[in-house]
Symmetry: C2
Subunit: 140 residues, 2 copies
């Protein structure tokens, strides 16, 4: 609910209208992020939101920094960015295909340090680790 307020404010700041399809798409994403565009479109259809509207709003959300595109486990997905979803990284198990979200303060520190070395300012980052998860170890 609070996220929706942020969402509406983000749109307002860009002088973009808060429409019912946009709110619907945002809710789907809050519930399923990260998700494929196919999933988004399928869910949207249940709410009678057209696929053209999905694509147009994905472009808008991307433009205003609400979502970002990632590849997880070889699949292209769209994910809510830090402010609207939780910030985390992805571990993708190549044995069972499971996707594990995690976070690590020391990783964040190392990322900031690396950027500082480049003389750059960080606005966001994304990490994916591919490997074998704890559950699958010893089985493969």
């Amino acid at each position: 609910m609070d996220k929706e307020l942020l969402f509406k404010q983000a749109l307002g700041l860009q002088r973009e209208r808060v429409t019912s399809p946009r709110l619907g798409l945002f809710r789907i994403m809050v519930r399923k992020s990260p998700l494929t565009t196919a999933t988004l479109i399928a869910e949207a259809e249940k709410l009678s939101i057209d696929q053209a509207t999905c694509y147009r709003n994905l472009a808008l959300f991307r433009r205003i920094g609400l979502i970002s595109d990632i590849v997880v486990g070889g699949r292209r997905m769209v994910e809510l960015t830090d402010s609207f979803g939780a910030h985390h990284h992805h571990f993708s198990c190549r044995n069972c295909g499971r996707l594990i979200d995690f976070d690590s303060p020391s990783l964040e520190t190392a990322i900031s340090a690396a950027a500082a070395d480049l003389g750059a300012i960080v606005s966001s980052h994304q990490l994916e680790i591919i490997g074998v998860c704890a559950q699958c170890r010893g089985l493969t």
Copy 2:
């Protein structure tokens, strides 16, 4: 040249043939990785390699771990994996769009540590940092 040997060996191990189109595609990738499939296809065309052959071999290269799919600066790309290209991470400047490759030992350490916390084994990883590069700072 040495990379080509590795490439041929990788194919041989999988009992896959070393064909002229495959070698051509590999050379394009060595020269331009990371690149979009559109770029790959455009370059391949110069060598009279058909787009169907491009897609079929992208699938093969992916299957044998030669390349991986990434999103850099919002663009989907394909990149030679560590063994065939250099291992590095990406910094994408959202002001000038420039792509900077970098590497950081402490980052590698932090990544290993994070995976260890999960009880997982790492086989590869990919990081993208989005921000403003040194050159653009003070200008934006």
